[in-house]
Symmetry: C2
Subunit: 212 residues, 2 copies
Amino acid sequence: MAAETKDRILDAAERLFADHGFPATSLRDITNAADVNLAAVNYHFGSKEALLIAVLERTTIPVNRDRLKRLDQLEAAAAGGPVEPEQLVRAFLTPLFEQQSNWTEHNFSWLKLMGRIHTEVDQELRAKLIGQYETVLRRFSAALRHSLPQLGQTEMIWRGLFMIGSMSFTMTWGASIMVTNVRAQRAPMEILEELIRFTAAGMAAQTGKSSK
Amino acid sequence: MAAETKDRILDAAERLFADHGFPATSLRDITNAADVNLAAVNYHFGSKEALLIAVLERTTIPVNRDRLKRLDQLEAAAAGGPVEPEQLVRAFLTPLFEQQSNWTEHNFSWLKLMGRIHTEVDQELRAKLIGQYETVLRRFSAALRHSLPQLGQTEMIWRGLFMIGSMSFTMTWGASIMVTNVRAQRAPMEILEELIRFTAAGMAAQTGKSSK
DNA sequence: GTCTATATGCGGATAGAC
DNA sequence: GTCTATCCGCATATAGAC
């Protein structure tokens, strides 16, 4: 039953962290929801913070692996030439959405949690998590610079930030908005397509120096 | 000294909520930083949550007033015709950045806090805050539909969400990124211009049904 | 209005029985 | 591996002196 207990804790923690945030979620909330003993978290994971890391890595590792695989394929197909910016944006965003494709109010916890992480976790813990993204960010920004040579490096950094912001906010609030606003109803993959169109257009927008 | 105490609490709370988040900040942290007595918060504001609302409203009210004023001017100038989407995006985003134009690591608390609110505060409290935005959102989305008639209502909702995501994430993390990455150095008003270019391009991106 | 002292409860973590 | 019982600190909030 050991493995099952661990997974039940991970599932409950993922959902509760996503819904209420990390500091606002107690171990008692988690162990009650998972229907396991209070002491089990510290037995299996060591601490609340280590539990958070385990929850995140369960998904970030395969997502980032998939991102790099897609980028490899695009660059191989381009044979040294630039890749379409929209293809790069797509390769970066798609693995996230595929991770949890049945995106309903009660079934998109990891996405929502990842959205939260960017704004909620303290700097120190965040630094650990960002380490996992180093390769991904480096390779994608190099590819984008190649395909959008008119962009300066500073512009690239800021536009990348804007893109991650759209993505993260959408993951955090998208499902809630679909619940409260019937007009917003869309399948997750349609929302992904909307997000790709929006961010690809933003990334490729004219730079400040040229005139309209 | 009463008014001064209240303001000192508001200033300290704004900075600490922004840096560490609402649940992770204790009243002790706040009253120590403000150099006032622990009991002063409950005396002046009633509760920790009421203090948060006071901190937010100190800025949201003038910002939203300014947004509507700018929109009034644009619509008056357009005399019933559509307003350029970029002008609408500019009118929506500028008041925020002007609110705290000296944007350095330790001097952009309110922006950062507003970025956090979208992801950190629980649904119930957020609903109260969103009430203040109702008029603003309704009027801006009507104006955008007028100037981008090819967008369906659903697409408009999602693109608005993407825009708010970019804005919110930039406010939360922009200053930290400037500190850790020298290449990202920019004046706040230049970042605002970058954000306007990015989001205006995204809002105006071709819709899904048309071909590239 | 401002302070000290304190009520009361929840938090993470652990000791030790089974 | 799982449980109960408990430690101990910090949280918000308030009572009541000044």
